[in-house]
């Protein structure tokens, strides 16, 4: 079976990740404000699934990551483990942003 693509496979022109606050902190704000009704104390290590992350929210998060950071996460990285915390998502973004541009 061929692996379906969720986003255009070409790596978008990687934008420098804004450094005024740690990526993890930016993502915590993004998730809290736009995706999940998080509880007080929610941080980069909180379990996203316990906070209500589901298929719709993951897809929204992928699109937000593309829009905010210009990073399209590849299909192979879309695992339950990789989306379990904000910290693990931040790791994916960093790794992808640092990867050489295809084509």
């Amino acid at each position: 079976m061929s692996t379906p693509k969720l986003a255009p496979i070409q790596l978008m022109a990687t934008q420098p990740i804004p450094q005024q606050e740690p990526l993890e902190q930016q993502l915590v704000h993004l998730v809290s404000e736009r995706l999940l009704e998080t509880q007080p104390g929610f941080d980069a290590d909180s379990n996203l699934y316990d906070s209500g992350l589901d298929s719709m929210a993951i897809m929204q998060l992928l699109i937000l990551i593309e829009e905010e950071y210009g990073v399209a996460l590849p299909e192979g990285e879309l695992t339950r483990q990789n989306f379990s915390t904000v910290r693990s998502v931040a790791g994916l973004i960093r790794a992808r942003a640092a990867a050489p541009t295809e084509g």
Partner: protein
């Protein structure tokens, strides 16, 4: 009636409520009953009925919308809820006992069949003693001493997620625990008309493309009188794990929805092929939540939009091909913000009288609404562990809808077990066709035929 009893509060309806209002009106006009869905929990024992009665009383006092009446403002043309002072009684409660049950449920009436009783509860009027109840509760003592608690609710007032929250709220109130249980509804986004119109374009273009394929349903486009029927299967923990692993192997662990849509499309296609028909494709209507994830509310109103998936003939050959296509469509629809766009379309239609609203809905697909309904609602009320002294051992929904399309396949989970519910309207599916449909679904879910799981069809 005293002046205090006559005082009312006026509350607005939400965008999606107007679709449900039109649908409810359509069902009523075509002698299909009302749009009443059921949410069921199974208990390890009969609940404490005095606690249940007290809980139902507190529920109505705390949430008087449960006796509200829907009206239309003839100046704005918008429907609204007229919420009265709550009556001094609780929601209607039915007590029933399966033949041969131990008899722990005092005052219960003996019944022939459990499913027949549940279906009747959905088909009978919710109003009682002149009060416009929007829900009722039925408790059935089973032969083995366990019990089923069924909340039948009007889709005008709440949606499936709201029903789960309402059951959890009732469970707390039965135990005398009265906590703030709702979240403040986000204020509706008010856009100028030109912005609204712009926002509708993606959904309109999407629907126009789907109209070229068509949305053939098993029932056909003509409405048909009659009530709904249901079949539910709870998979064993082992089968649930096996099935989930297969789904994840095909579409990944993050987007199981795509697989279930594909499975439902192929199950329906099996019936069409049995009838010697091979349509160009099918349009699946899949509700998607618009509540913020993780929120405990809002409890009331319908907080859903719709994704219209399309399974075309070339994609229906294998479950792998179909699931892959549905996954790509899911990503495309999210990217195009079709959920928001579809809500904008509904927003533009809010002022239409129900009959005209429904005519617009059915116009696109030449009398059809969709080929079938489907949803995968995830884990059913995970916070609801006990109910009035009984341990919750399982939970699922019996969704209600009209002819057309007359059929739907639904999935949810509870305690690591998957529930599969087939719903069909009177006269739409024969017994043989139900077995063919579910047989195909099982083959796709497990990768091999599972005839032993087709009992009761």
């Amino acid at each position: 009636m005293s002046a205090a009893a006559r005082s009312t509060v006026r509350l607005p309806v939400r965008v999606t409520d107007c679709f449900l209002l039109a649908h409810d009106d359509f069902m009523q006009r075509t002698r299909q009953g009302r749009h009443v869905t059921q949410s069921l929990i199974e208990l390890d024992r009969v609940p404490d009925i005095e606690k249940v009665r007290a809980g139902l009383m507190r529920l109505v006092q705390k949430h008087p919308r449960l006796v509200a009446r829907l009206r239309r403002d003839w100046r704005t043309l918008l429907p609204f809820w007229e919420v009265p002072t709550p009556p001094a009684r609780g929601l209607p409660l039915g007590l029933w006992r399966e033949g041969g049950a131990p008899g722990s449920l005092v005052g219960a009436v003996e019944i022939e069949g459990v499913m027949d009783r549940l279906e009747r509860a959905m088909a009978e009027p919710l109003a009682e003693e002149g009060i416009d109840f929007k829900a009722r509760l039925d408790v059935i003592e089973l032969r083995d001493g366990r019990a089923i608690v069924a909340l039948s609710w009007s889709h005008l007032l709440i949606d499936g997620k709201g029903a789960e929250l309402l059951l959890a709220e009732l469970g707390r109130l039965c135990d005398g625990v009265d906590l703030p249980c709702d979240v403040k509804e986000p204020p509706p986004v008010v856009l100028p008309w030109n912005e609204k119109l712009k926002r509708t374009k993606a959904a309109v273009a999407h629907l126009e493309n789907l109209a070229k394929i068509g949305a053939p349903s098993i029932s056909g486009p003509r409405p048909r009188a009659g009530r709904g029927h249901y079949w539910n299967l709870t998979l064993s923990p082992e089968d649930s794990t096996r099935m989930t692993q297969r789904v994840e192997g095909m579409v990944g662990s993050l987007f199981p929805m795509a697989f279930y849509v594909a499975c439902t499309a192929r199950a329906h296609d099996r019936v069409f092929r049995h009838r010697g028909v091979q349509p160009r494709g099918y349009v699946a209507s899949v509700p998607v939540q618009t509540r913020k994830r993780g929120a405990r509310g809002p409890l009331f109103h319908n907080h859903v939009s719709i994704f219209f998936f399309c399974a075309q003939r070339a994609q229906l050959g294998t479950i792998e091909a179909c699931a892959t296509a549905m996954k790509q469509q899911f990503a495309d629809m999210m990217r195009a913000r079709l959920d928001e766009s579809f809500l904008a379309v509904l927003d533009m239609m809010m002022r239409l009288p129900s009959w005209l609203f429904m005519r617009v809905v059915r116009w696109q697909f030449k009398g059809e609404i969709a080929s079938f309904y489907h949803s995968h609602t995830g884990v059913f009320a995970p916070e609801l562990l006990e109910f009035a002294g009984g341990r919750v051992t399982n939970a699922y929904h019996f969704p209600c809808f009209a002819v057309p399309p007359g059929t739907g396949l639904f999935f949810c989970e509870r305690g690591g077990r998957v529930n599969i519910t087939l719903a069909w309207r009177e006269g739409v599916l024969s017994g043989e066709e139900r077995r063919l449909m579910i047989g195909q679904a099982m083959e796709d879910l497990f990768g091999e035929p599972r005839p032993e799981l087709l009992h009761g069809l």
